[in-house]
Every structure is written in C-alpha cells, then in structure tokens.
Assembly symmetry: C2
Homo-oligomer: 763 residues x 2
C-alpha cells in the first residue's frame, strides 16, 4: 500500500473544482472531468483544443472498429475490437486579431473548471489576454442529456473586458478523429450536409461497418458560412463583442447510433436534430438537474466527520464517494441492454472500452441496490451476447457458453491468449450475477425467460472444461488463471473450482425448479438447447465432487502447489518497482507466493454466509500479507472482510484510497481514463464494509461498524420494492422504511422487523 | 505412432532418385534435394523456375533480417530475426521458338532427378517437347563446393533430338528474392556490374544491414548481352543446337558473406570470382568427390539385411541413414564457429533458420564421434554469443547467461514468451555439451579458455533463476516449461531441476579443478567475471539441495502435480487430429498427462550411467504410454532406452521412421524443409540404440543388440585419436582399432582392451 495521494483538485461536497491550470496535469483533469450519459461520453478536453497535452476523446457506447491479427493457434482470437473516438462535436476555434485561442500558448488568468455532480455539467471559465492586451472572459459549459441520450449541449459565453470589437468564432463537427493508440482515424465514407447554422454528417467505421450520424445546430445571428474539408465541417462567423456585455453561442449536438445505416439513419438523425432544436438549452439544463436530484435522493451516501480534526479528511471522502457514484451512474444506468460497463467507461482508450467480469463481480451490487432495472439490463447484455459465448466455447474445444474476458460486442476481444483462454471467471461471474439478481429481486420471470438458458450453457461449458484428477478422482479445472493474475496455468484454483461448483449447482437447481414451476418454458428450453436428460445430474455430480483445496484448519490453498511456492516478502519490494508489470520481467511475477488480488478472500466475500468467521479469519490472516493489490479491486475486498472481522485498523487502512482513487490519482494512471469498475468497489466498501450489509442471505443482514473518524454515515438501498434509509451514528443505527411494506432484517445477528423505523444500538 | 510412410523416391544405396515428376510432390522434392556446404544452401528447385509449386530458396548461413515487434512486457523480445533468401544464382531461362521452358505447362518425358551422396551433386534430366514437336534433352547439374565454400556450380546441357536450330539461353543472378512467409524482399541498395560473360552484384539487408556479394561467370561463346532490371541481371545469348550433339553452359557462381561491406567486400568478391574461374568445373567436381569419399570412409553406417524377405526394407533403411548423415554433414561440419545448425538447416524458411537446443542435445553426439573439431566449433558458437546470453539473462531479471531457445546470431529470436522465457534447457544443454565434449576429447585447453567462462555464467543464471520452496526448503525451478512443451509454467520440472543440478555441480567442479590445474587462467577468469568467493559454494549447495521429484519406487514425477493431472488416452485420439497444434485449441494441450516428448526419459538418456536399469524400466513403462511424440526427437529416445531394456519390439517400432523421416515425409511437412536436427537422432538411434554405445561413462561402453531383420551393422567412431570400427553380426561384434593406441572398452558390462581387433559374442 505504498500508493499515496497526488492532491490537485479542491474539496467540495458536490463539485470537483480545478483552480488554475497545470499543463502537466492536463490528461488527469480530462479524465476526471469526463461526462457521460451511458449512450455517449466525452473527456474533459478543452473545446478549443490547442497545444496542451490532451487525449481528445468523444466516444459513443458500442461504436468500435476491428483489427485483424496474425493467425496463430486454434482458440487464440484472430481479430480484436476496440472503442474508437466518435465525431468531435465540441470542436471550437476562437480568434481575436488573428490570434487563435490556445491555452498552451496564450496568457490567461482566473482559470477554473468545475464538474457539478448535482447538475451533471462541466463549466470552465478564464480570462484570456491576447498579445495586444485585449481581455475576454470566456465560459464554456457542456452537458450530455440524461433523458434524450443522443443530445449534447455546449454554450460558449464571451465578454470583452477592455475593448469592443469583432471576434472570429468557428464551431464544427469532425469525423477526422484519431485513435491515439492505433495512430489513425477509423472513419470512412463520410456524408456531409452543411448550412450556415447547422451541419449534419454520417460516417462508417472501416472494418466493423458501423454507421454513426452526428449533427449540430448553432445559435448564430448574422452572417455565417460553413467550410467543409475532408471529414470536418466548421461554421464560421464574426461576433461583435461590446465591452462589459456577455454574449453566448449555443450548440445543440446530436449523435445517433441506433443500428441503422444509410438513408434510414440519416432520416432518423435529421429528425433527432429537429426535435433537439425545439428545446432551449435552459430547459434542457433544468431537466438535467431534476434528473440528478431524483437520482441522488435514493443513491447518495452521506458521511459526517466525528470531530474538527477529521473534518477535512472526511470532506474529501464525502466528495470522493459522490464522485464514484456519479461516474458509475453516468456510465451505465440501464439505458440499453446493448451496453455494458467498460473498465474505463467512456473516459479513455485504455482497455479498449472493453467490459470485463468486473461488471458482475464489482458493479452489479451497486445497481442491485440503487437501480435494479439497470442490473437486469446488464444481465440482458449477457443474454444478447450468448451466441458469441457459444461460439467462443467451440473455439476452445468446449461445449456451452464461454463468456469473454474483455468485450464490447460479446466477442472475445482479448488478444492475450493466457487471459482469454485460461480465465473462466467471466462465465462464473455471469452465473453469480444472475443468482444475485434473482435472489435479491425474486424476478423469476427473468430467470425463466433469460437466466435459465444462460445458466444451462455456462454449466455445459464448465462441465466440458473441467476434468478428473488421475489420483483423487475429484473434479477440478486444470490449466487456468484465477482472478489473481500472478499465477498462470495452475490447477484447481480455489476460486475457479468453488465458483464452478456453485455455478453448476445453481444451474441444476434452477432447471429443476423451472421444470415444476414453469413447465412450458422448461420444455421449450430443453428443446431449444437439446438438453440431454443426464446432463443436469452430471452437473450435480460434478458440483458435489468438485475439489476444494481446504485443509482441516479451514485454510484454503489458492491452487495446487501454492503453499510450496517460494516466498516473496512484499514489504521488501522497493516502491520504485511499482507497477510491477512495468518493472519486472513478465515471467517473474508468476513464480512466487505473491498474489495480485485475493482469490480466496473473493470467495469469502461473494459467498459470505457459507463460511464461518473462523474460516474467514484464518484465510484473511494468511493471504492478506501475500497480496500486493496490483488490482484496484483488491483493497476493498480486504477492507470489507477486515471490518467483518472487527479489524477496524485494516478496514480503514485498506479503505484508504478507495473513494479517491482517481480524484487523487493514486495509481498514477488516471490520465488514461477513470477506473470506472473499480470505483464501484468504493460503494461496496462502504455499504458492505462499514454498514456490514450482506446480500447472500435470505434476509438482508447489517452489522454497522462506524470508523472512528466518522460521526455519521447514511445511505439508502432499494430492496424488493422498499426504500430503506440507513443512518449510522456512534450510538447506533437508525433504519427507516421510506417506502414499501414491512420486512425482516438482521442486525448484528438479531432478527428485527422493519416497519417504519428501527434503532439498533451499536455493539 | 499413427504416422505412416508416404513413399515416392526410389531406393538406392547411395542416391536419392525421383523418376517422373509429380507436381503435388514438388515442394517435398525440393526439400529432399537440398544441397548445402555449411556456408550456403539451396533447395532442389528447378533452375528454370516456371509455374510449378515451389519454395525457391537459396540461403547463406548467417544472413538474416530483423522484424521489430510491438512493445509488450519486460523480458519479451521486441524484435526478432530470421533467415532470408539470398541471391538466386541458379536463375535460368530457356526459350525455343518463343516458347519458354516451364515444366508446369510444357510436355516432357524421361524426367529423372538424382541426389548423389557420394558426389554431393544434384542432377536432373528430361526431354522437353515443344508445342511444335521439337525435342531437346536437358540436363541440369549443380553442386556446392565443399572446399571453397563460397563457390557454387551449375551446368546446363542441351541436345536437340529432332532438329537443328537456335535456342535462347538466359542465365542470371537476382537479389529480388522474396521471403515467402513475410511476402517481401529484404534486399536493398543493390550494386551491379555486368559484362557479357560475368555479373557481379552486392546488396544489403534492410534492418540488419548485412552485405552479401554474389557473382557468376558464364561459359558462353558467341554474342551475349546482359540485361539489368532492378535487383536482377540476366545474360542472354543464342545457342545453335545441332541435332544429336550435346552442348553445355557452365556457370560458376560465388556468394561471399564475410562480415565485410562496401568496397572491401566488393574487392574480396571480385578476387573470389577470379579464383573460381581458374578451376574447371570438372576439376571442382573431382575434388568434391574426393572430399565425400574421405568423409564416408569414417562416417558411414552400413546395414545388411538378414534375409531376402528383409532386403527391401533394409535397403530403404540403409539409404535413409546415409541421407541423414549426408544432410547433417552438408549442413554443418565445423566450417565456421559463427555458424550453428538450424532446425531445418538451410532447406526452408520454417523455424526461421533458427538453431535450438537441439544442437547440443541431438546433434552434438554425431559430431563428437565423427568430427570432434566441428563439435568444438559448435561450442565456440556459444562462446562467441555469450555476450548476448548475458544480456538476455538481464532482460529476464536474472544474472549470468541465459542462452536463447531460438537464434541465428545469439540473440533470442523467439517471439513466443512462453518458450523464450520459460524454457531453460538451452542453457543446461550448453553446459551438458561442454561436459560431453571435454569428457570425450579431454580437451582441457578448450575448457580453460572458453568452457569455464560459459559454465560460470550459466551457473550464475541458474542460481538466480531457481528458488526455494516455502514448504520443503529445497531448491527448484518455478514457472518453467521443460522439453515436454505440453506443460507450461510448471514447478520443479524434473528435467530442468536435474539438468540444473548437474550443470551447477559441473560448473563448481570445473572451477575448482581449474584453480589447481590452471591457476593463471583461473585468476584471469575470476577477475573478468568478478566471481565472488562464495558463489561456487552457493552453486554446490544448490546442486546438493536441488529437489528431484522421485518416489521410493524410482518413478520420477515430471513436475509438481503431474501425477494428479487428468488422463488422456493417447490411443483414443483420432488420426485426423494430428498434428495436435493444428487441431486442438492451444490451451487444451496443456492440461492432461499427455506429453509431447519425454522429459524424464531424456534425463535417463543423457545421464545414462547415473540410473539403474530398474529405474529406467520403471520410468520407461510409466511415461512411454503417455507420450504422443509430437516432437520428432521423442521416438529415438524411446528406441534407445527400449533397446537397453531388451525390449526389442519397442526399439524397432520406435526406430520405425527415424531414418526415413523426410525421405518418406512421415510428418507430412517435409515440404517446409528437412528436419535436420531430428535426423541427427537417427544416427544416435543406431549407435546408442542398437550398438548400445554409452558415452557418459569413464570408458566407452557397448552393448550391441542387432534387430532381427539386420544381418550386419557396421560403423566407425572417432574417439580420443582412435578410429574404432564396429561390426555387429548375429554371432557377435567385431571391434577393430583402425587407427590409434590401444584402449579399454566395456562390452556387455565386461572390460576388454582393444588393441587391434576384438570379437565379443552376442548375448
């Protein structure tokens, strides 16, 4: 835990504020000031571009292109796909006396950039001083419409402070957007239509053949003309600035990606632009604020400091946890079941926009307790991509469905075979996600219509991928890599075996329940999947006879031979060697007992009620000192278990950077984009960790443990139609049923019935 | 052993004959008819090219170019190198009445192509019938000079059978040679000088910047002109063919690659061409024949059939073993310590011309007993490339020297990290090779001057790469892949641990002996390598405490957890699934008890005298049924051990295709080139297997066991200045000391002194 905060932004309960501009921090700021509305995302880059260091990213969810790879061996992907920058609708140029605004070169003062998490807006203002001494106050506002998700807005306000005169203003749209990693533009065959106050364009990706419509209307009065060049169109005009009088230009943009192409898309796009023009920017902004007000009302986590000496630190945590919630809600909120959650959302090119098993393992709890419909839609993404998972299993000489380790479209997008072929956790995570969703929502209709089929095919995959030990006759998974990616091609990885066992059993349970509870759907499913009668029994047998490497002392061996491995004393590794993947020879990380993230502790977290406190303590004490936390998921798991075990020192220590991972650039790579899926664990760290919520039990279970420096922690959860407010204070915790019928809850192991309000004293 | 012969060539004791031409077999024939003289090699492609399927390869030993790879992780190579086709000096075009000779299109008869292993020549003749009915008998002869290795010869003989008239003859030289795999030509900046009877050219490789001089002189009378175009020059002339009178054109080519460049190389090249012109083709041919006569006199293995019913099969074996010996001697014979032995020699692009650990593990015994100077030069290649091995160890965060798994120039050329980073057998094989060479030759001078330094750096590498088990405290190698490439990233691989143990001990022994026997050189070495006093003791300690996974029953476990692995019943795999790497998902081969080649049996072969018969039997019986022989090295190891164990059925069965692996295209990939290093094992299979030679003992040991179908097997070995002829017959074996002083030999475990002749009855 040698990582330390790199403090740059101002602390504020609801806003992220950058005062003054440090060019060296430019890309970090761009990431932190990202906006998204699930359908599209945009990094906080300067509208006017210029020579500052920048990854100028405008992304549309689901838009990607393809790279064909050299043919290698069977089962290794021969092409991959990756998110590409979409149409740049923020393009703006401002010129005064022939001098173009460029904050990399110009003189300026009073710079301030603010992300407002209650309004969902990004604002930037500063005073630009030209070389001739003229001063203009410029304010840039942007937001992405959370309701009409194809819509985006920009307002540029200008005020001449010490002169009256013309300013050249140019606002454009460009498909000439370059993928930084691939160093090229993937857009081709661009169609353009331009007038003096509006521009429409449509273009196609090179190999994936996706079409995107992009357009904008500009509130210009007076003479304007459009200039087309290649894949870029600009509208240029002159604006008379009168000293002391602010004026502004509004840009209403539309980016439409609806699966259509050609004229059909063009027509839809034109209609969308027309509809957008009927709403004023002020009205759109008001609607946006109402959207977020409603969202925060159920999703906010509030923290108060226990004393003056903690006020500053806790204020930073409060801001941090809100930032996490805000970014998660921006990135995904169930707008479409075609979307998933990229590891970096739509905030950068790193990880190619791919979603990983993080979705089910890290993000799903957040949605289950704040937006169950979004959780359902995430699972429907897996249903919709089941055909690709079936195909992938075939490529691996297996049956059933193998879910990809990294994907945008359902296909395996990871070109590193050692991850794509050996990591089975995406498939078991999908099974777990279905179980978790159905368990919490009791949405059997989903299970019969979608879940059961996925579970069946995952069980088939696992059954075909597992094998029997020559010696013990027990089943296990051989040649795998668990979530701990520091051990490759191991046998009987505890996580993989345990999750496989539970997935097989749950698939068998589900199909057996379905046969009696929903026989017609069951019959249809049997026919559709050609399920042989003996298959379910075979899964059950495998689940019953799955090898779980656990000794009499309850200590689980992470995989065969793990206890024999040479020891690495983690505290002896110099800080200069982090991140290890940049400083250690690739193969070197794979041959000691050092682990990246804790496979065994992950089981204890996911199936918490299946293990005794003693088992948790034994395994926590063994694995904690061997874990290097090179995955940002790892500290939160430790913190949650430490809290449960009453080890509040560890709980607080591992919570350390969870809430401000990106705000304080702890991993020194926020410039590449936000750790969207990891910050989901900040929510879990608080709700599962300090409130002790457990969701794998039949009733909800709480065991609040307030860190010393907090006076108060409060949040709400949605659960089976109820809204439960939880307010933890030093003396005890007050549970309020804000909505819905009475329900039983367990607090500190005692059963209560929550009707209106319940207070349980702290222990 | 589902592989079967694909019989095409005629059986003959000293020649490989193709009668008639099957275009579908074109590439296989090109490989089989390859010529080489260590310095250069040429596939048996048609001189005139044409539309037949062909991999037209002319190679010069050590000439390669480079590909820069995408940056990935530390320790993974960022560029690789590969043999490229050199200048095509065989280029010939023959045109009659405007019709160009092309055996892919033309009518022809009486086609015969013959490789003469006593002359070292390739001859091809046929009668060409043009569309107008004219018939010309054409004979093409070629050979590569075994003495002046920059020289190569071609003679084209022509005889008009039914007409008198002019024929257009064009002979050229071209650097416009395309690498088939990369689909491009790597030669650039070609300098050319052409006259009517000679052409000189010089060109440079693109990234490696190597320069090659190529030239030829042509015996043309009458008018001729040279035509230059790009990187190609042709000399064109008309030749009057008189009916029934044969005439010929001789081409004397020179390919000079001597490390020089620019004018210096050009001058050397011009001189080399002049020198070549002073010798007639007939004289060169005579010298060639004498070279091979002398070579066969000491290196031939002769087999006779035990009865008429075996005559045909044994004649094929006789031809096969001669072909193996001939190809090995062509490919490498100690001409330069800058050369090594590519897995496919200079007979194709597959394996990039790279040499592997096969050199020390498969090929060295052949040279040790037929050409010890060549064996020494092979080891000097490792000395000369020690700097690269030091650098490679550093890339892997290790100390000392890590020898590459695949190389032409000493750098690691393998872009697959799982092989390049996890396979330690190249380094232990070099240590073993030094031991084997010094043990047999008693060449301590070599050891003190070169060997000790290599051994020291290999020991350092092994010491830094090994680690201690957390549980047992024993040393072992973690995260490795043994020669059995069907198990990756395993711990305590028996082969790696055992070879590591022996290498460390031998390095310690050597340095200790050097300190007393050659103190000055020792002092210099200590200084050069900054050897710390405690290092040798540390190696000794590691060797003494190296974990060898062997049970009380003597059964060695191939690696930790091997006995637990799921079983694959090899005989259940359908023949249609071979080769497995084309038909099985890449990861699937890594997770069962099926092995590619037998690591444990390999130890028993290399350190034969260190294991009891019972240990050998136990391990042979266990591993033999689990081995799929996807390495062509594997069957010979089995055959040798089976013969030792008296299991002659297995010995003969596994010997099966050893001698005719390529002649009968057993692996169905001879088209890609010859299995040069594997065919070295055919020699070992006979000498170690059926003659029972053992060379890891203090005296030479024989235990002749003649297969039933052989009446007689005879061969010679060179050993410490002696020439020992061995002649095995049914009744017994006659040992003749053809040269040198008397020496003790062990036969069937009894000590004899071989003075002139010794006969030992069969047991």
């Amino acid at each position: 835990m040698a990582k330390i905060a790199d403090i740059y932004f101002k602390v504020d309960p609801w806003r992220i504020i950058e005062k003054g501009f440090d060019p060296a921090y430019s890309r970090v700021s761009e990431s932190v000031f990202s906006l998204a509305n699930e359908t599209m995302g945009v990094r906080g880059s300067f509208d006017e571009g210029g020579s500052v260091d920048s990854l100028r990213g405008v992304y549309v969810n689901g838009v990607y292109d393809i790279e064909n790879l050299n043919k290698s061996y069977r089962g290794i992907v021969d092409h991959t796909h990756f998110m590409i920058p979409a149409a740049d609708w923020l393009r703006t140029k401002i010129t005064l006396d022939g001098e173009e605004l460029d904050l990399g070169k110009a003189a300026f003062r009073d710079f301030e950039r603010t992300l407002d998490m209650r309004a969902g807006t990004l604002t930037r203002f500063f005073v630009w001083r030209t070389s001739t001494g003229k001063e203009v106050r410029l304010t840039f506002l942007r937001f992405l419409d959370m309701i009409h998700r194809e819509r985006a807005y920009q307002r540029v306000s200008m005020e001449a402070l010490n002169f009256t005169g013309e300013i050249e203003f140019s606002s454009g749209l460009s498909f000439d957007t370059r993928h930084e990693g691939y160093r090229k533009c993937f857009w081709t065959d661009t169609r353009t239509q331009a007038a003096s106050d509006r521009v429409s364009m449509q273009s196609r990706t090179t190999l994936s053949g996706q079409e995107l419509f992009a357009a904008f209307a500009l509130s210009v009065s007076g003479e304007a003309c459009s200039m087309c060049g290649g894949k870029t169109v600009d509208i240029k005009t002159s604006i008379l600035l009168r000293q002391g009088e602010a004026c502004h230009v509004d840009k209403k943009a539309v980016l439409l990606f609806n699966g259509k192409s050609g004229d059909a898309l063009w027509t839809d796009g034109a209609n969308a632009l027309d509809a957008s023009e009927n709403v004023s920017l002020e009205d759109a902004l008001q609607a946006q604020r109402e959207y977020w007000d409603a969202w925060w009302a159920t999703s906010d986590i509030q923290i108060e400091a226990s004393g003056d000496e903690n006020r500053e630190a806790v204020a930073a945590e409060q801001q941090g946890i809100r930032f996490c919630s805000f970014q998660l809600a921006q990135t995904y909120n169930g707008g479409s079941m075609r979307h998933n959650i990229g590891a970096k959302g739509m905030t950068g090119e790193a990880y190619n926009g791919h979603a990983f098993w993080d979705t089910e393992s890290c993000c799903l709890p957040f949605y289950l307790f704040t937006n169950p419909q979004a959780a359902r839609d995430l699972l429907l993404f897996r249903y919709n991509t089941l055909p690709m998972a079936l195909e992938r299993a075939g490529m691996l000489d297996c049956k059933g469905a193998c879910y990809p380790i990294a994907t945008l479209n359902g296909e395996e997008g990871c070109a590193l075979w050692q991850h794509a072929s050996l990591q089975l956790q995406p498939s078991t995570a999908v099974a777990y996600g279905i179980w978790h969703y159905v368990h919490l929502t009791q949405d059997d209709a989903f299970l019969w219509e979608y879940g059961a089929e996925i579970l069946l095919q995952i069980a088939r995959f696992l059954y075909s991928r597992a094998a029997k030990s020559s010696k013990s006759g027990k089943y296990g998974f051989y040649g795998v890599m668990g979530p701990d990616e520091f051990h490759m091609m191991v046998n009987n990885n505890a996580y993989t075996n345990y999750m496989g066992k539970r997935s097989l059993a749950y698939a068998a349970d589900t199909l057996e329940r379905m046969r009696t509870q929903c026989p017609q759907a069951y019959a249809a499913l049997i026919e559709k999947t050609a399920l042989a009668p003996e298959e379910i029994a075979a899964w059950r047998d495998m689940a019953d006879n799955m090898y779980i490497p656990c000794g009499a002392d309850g200590l689980i061996e992470q995989h065969d031979g793990y206890f024999d491995l040479p020891h690495t004393e983690i505290s002896d590794i110099p800080v200069s060697e982090f991140p290890l993947y940049e400083h250690w020879s690739y193969d070197r990380i794979y041959r000691t007992d050092m682990i990246k993230q804790p496979d065994v502790l992950m089981i204890l977290y996911l199936y918490n009620s299946s293990f005794s406190s003693e088992e948790k303590r034994t395994n926590y004490n063994f694995y904690q000192p061997r874990t290097i936390h090179e995955s940002s998921l790892s500290p939160a798991i430790h913190s949650i278990l430490a809290a449960e075990l009453g080890n509040m020192d560890d709980a607080v220590r591992f919570f350390g950077y969870a809430t401000r991972l990106d705000l304080d650039n702890y991993n020194r790579n926020t410039r590449e984009g936000l750790h969207i899926t990891s910050i989901a664990m900040a929510w879990a760290n608080i709700v599962y960790g300090f409130a002790g919520l457990r969701s794998d039990t039949q009733t909800l279970l709480f065991a609040p443990r307030l860190p010393e420096r907090w006076k108060k922690l409060s949040f709400s959860v949605l659960y089976r139609g109820r809204v439960i407010r939880v307010c933890m204070e030093r003396a005890g915790t007050r549970f309020t049923l804000a909505q819905g019928e009475a329900l039983p809850v367990d607090v500190y192991g005692r059963r209560y019935t929550l009707t209106d309000e319940l207070f349980v004293s702290a222990i």
